[in-house]
Symmetry: C3
């Protein structure tokens, strides 16, 4: 059983693949959002970008825009939370959780991250974002607890 | 033997799980530190955070604080080093190292990252941080060397 | 076959190891570039760095330098793209692609990231960078499509 933990033979691994897929795609989507708003709002960080995408210097102001900075912070928050989840999740699947527990962890984390992005992008009043953020973090820590029960230093 | 490399049947994989657990938890801890200091020092990047956590605008100064920026840089350094270690470490375990070599690599890297955080947060004089940083990087590169011996392009 | 997907017995996993090795090493190299230019240009973000590496305060200007900021942005772009590729690539290998498809995906992604770094660092005129960037992103999304065909929520 353990030998094939990280393979398609393990239904929990297939489930992990699904949720890891969703949160990685969501993280990548932030890149598209950044590129879209940089080009439409004409706000760039490199001279060669201004030269090609805003040759007439339509944007005379500073090359910082609140919307883009907000997307960038949301993207960074994904990197700080989604990547640890995907890595810890792989170890979690290898550590042999029950299907019920694994399903619960993956669903709660994934929901918390999609909700976090919605709450961040649309500036929903606090403490919503801080609560949703912590639901995600504690889900990863709960998986880490199971992983820890199987380690050998 | 190689077939079960990434499973609980492999004692080196269990060891990897333990050290990956430690460094991922340490990275996540930086998020908690950032949230804690943002709320206690009342230094925020979003209007909705100020509205809820500092309604009387106690903090009249800029929304940048040296302590928070230091934690943020330390967190970023973790993302740039811990994530590559965990990923390269997985490939390293799959490449079939000896128990002794694996144990040595995992211990040195983990110690270097905990030390790096201590040195960074408490502003220990240089060149301590640059040395501790490079110990971690070269440990990852040494694992990469073993991985490279097993690849097939 | 599937049971040993993530092991040296699977030639596609060995190939994945090779390309993951290349792009992770490339990402780590950006750290070395940052350290090198910070010390030679004497541009630092921490007081203890200035105290040890520029005791005579040779650099009287701001502690921001266009070259270092460019390397830093390129490094951040790697974190946002290379890490998702390595994670999605692992799931992709587990999902059982053909050798031809896997080889194609890994080669195109790896080439796109090395080219992206070259284009970014040497400020090659746009839209080169945005095109090379999207080749990498769509390669990861194409692997994600194969992964999705094997998941079970």
């Amino acid at each position: 059983m353990a030998a094939a933990a990280l393979s398609l033979d393990n239904p929990i691994f297939r489930m992990y693949m699904g949720y890891a897929f969703l949160v990685i795609i969501k993280t990548i989507a932030m890149s598209f959002a950044t590129v879209f708003f940089r080009i439409t709002l004409k706000v760039f960080l490199n001279q060669e970008d201004v030269a090609s995408f805003d040759p007439n210097k339509t944007n005379k102001g500073p090359q910082v825009h609140p919307t883009i900075e907000r997307i960038r912070r949301c993207h960074q928050n994904d990197l700080e939370n989604v990547i640890p989840f995907v890595l810890m999740g792989l170890l979690y699947v290898a550590s042999g959780p029950t299907t019920f527990a694994a399903s619960l962890h993956f669903r709660i984390f994934t929901a918390s991250r999609f909700l976090h992005t919605y709450v961040y992008i649309f500036s929903i009043p606090q403490p919503t974002r801080v609560l949703v953020f912590h639901v995600g973090v504690f889900t990863t820590l709960s998986m880490a607890y199971t992983v820890f029960s199987q380690v050998a230093f």
